[in-house]
Structures are given as structure tokens and as C-alpha cells.
Assembly symmetry: C2
Homo-oligomer: 145 residues x 2
């Protein structure tokens, strides 16, 4: 039986320095659903088909233990990056919503292959992006006649 291919991300992680600020930003400004919040270690957020995990690196780098089984340590410092998928119409509305909530829009990019990205920061300085899925369409060059 062949090894089945790896196809989907189940957990995406970012690191923050203030979990209360992250909770407020990700649940109230971005409207994500909190799955689990431990004010001294992590905030887990529901995103189909997986989850977004925000950790205090000072905690996650100590690793963990589940009934004597080891959760390996991890933890990065400095601004990470993730993008969320959004429709073109949704992007227009989110630009207005973020501005209304005094979230600075750092950049707007209209991609050569079509589609738009908007970039802003979470309170920890991570670079967040809302982007249309089609920005990942590769532009195929027309073959020369």
C-alpha cells in the first residue's frame, strides 16, 4: 500500500508576545472563533479545514506533556506571516472594516496574474494578508507561433 500523499495543513502557527491582545484582535477585529485560550501559553482559533495556533514562544519552547507523551518544543521570534483566503468582494469590505477599526493597511498589491492582497499587522507585528485565491494562479506564457 503506497504512502498516502500529504495534502492539507491542519495547524498553522504564529508567535505573539501578548496573548490577551492577540485574543482581542483575532476574535473581535478579525472575528475568528476561539477554540481554546490559555492566557499563559496559547490561543487556538478555528479555521477550515484546520486551526490557527498562536503561542507565547517562551511557553511553547518548553514543550509539553500529554499523559507522559512528549509535545516537542518549538518557538520562533520575529514577525511571521500568514495569509487568509478572501473573495474580491470580501476584500473591498475588509479594507473598509479594518480602516474603521483603525487598523493600518500597510500595503495593497494588485498582482500581475490577477487578484489582490491587502497587508496589515497583528498586535505582535506579524504580517497578515487577506488575499484572493487566484493570486496563486501561475501565468502561463502563450507559446510563440
Amino acid at each position: 500500500m503506497p504512502t498516502p500523499p500529504i495534502e492539507t495543513v491542519l495547524e498553522t502557527c504564529l508567535y505573539v508576545d501578548d496573548l490577551a491582545a492577540a485574543h482581542s484582535f483575532y476574535t473581535e477585529v478579525l472575528g475568528l472563533r476561539c477554540v481554546e485560550f490559555d492566557a499563559e501559553r496559547h490561543l487556538f482559533l478555528d479555521l477550515e479545514p484546520g486551526n490557527l495556533l498562536l503561542f507565547l514562544a517562551t511557553s511553547s519552547e518548553r514543550g509539553g506533556d500529554v499523559r507522559g507523551q512528549e509535545i516537542p518544543p518549538h518557538g520562533a521570534r520575529g514577525p511571521g506571516h500568514i495569509a487568509f483566503m478572501m473573495s474580491a468582494e470580501g476584500l473591498e469590505l475588509w479594507q473598509a472594516t479594518l480602516r474603521a477599526q483603525h487598523i493600518d493597511i500597510e500595503s495593497v498589491v494588485d498582482w500581475p496574474q490577477g487578484g489582490r492582497s491587502i497587508y496589515f499587522r497583528d498586535p505582535a507585528g506579524n504580517s497578515l494578508e487577506l488575499a484572493e485565491r487566484r493570486i496563486w494562479n501561475v501565468v502561463e506564457e502563450e507559446p510563440a507561433e
Copy 2:
């Protein structure tokens, strides 16, 4: 018109210190499909419904430019973490496949709520996990009679 909810991650990022080693590991050992490889900046890998982006932090923290539009800088140091979704049967096969390729399995966790995770490292030291989706099922306590 209400702002549409953020539902799905389009881009998940990790940082590495050797893109050639990352390319070999992620495409040959893990079997992911390379979408774009720039040996001095990034490796982009296809994962439904989005992509996994591996960056040299020394490059991504300089930001970028697309036709005069700014790609904001980002870049983290230290081991990050992601998990890939895998069936129970797939996990068994992957444990054997990783061992056969001399990839050290750092930990195996059987979760109280059901489901298994296996943990290993990429060449840069990032903590990778293959896990069943059901590890995210919350165990509801039976109400007391």
C-alpha cells in the same frame, strides 16, 4: 452588506536556513509539489486549499516589490511548527516511511480525545507533525445526572 467571515488559511509560512536542503526534504521525503523555487529567497509548496511557503528570513525581512507595490517584510528565527492532516492508516505508513528514510521520529502522541500525532523535524529544525483531524475534537464532559 456584512463583512464576510475569514474562514480559511491561504498561506502558511516557515523559515529555513538552507533552501536547497528544504527543497530536497519537502519534495523528496515528504513528496510535496514545488510551485516556485528561488534558491536565494523562497520555496513555495502546493497544499490544498493553499500553499506552504518556506523563506530565508534574511531575504523575506527585506520585503519585496511587485510593480512598485510593497510586499511587507517578515521573517522569524527559531523553530516554528506546522501540522499536516493525515488519516490513521496514513500515519502508520508514514511512520514506516520516515524511519526508512532515516528521519528521526521525535515523539508519537495518542490523544485523550482520540487520534494520533507523530512529530519530526525538517532540516532547519522546524517541528513538523502529521496528525489525524479528530485530535481537534473537543471532549465534552458528560453532564452529571
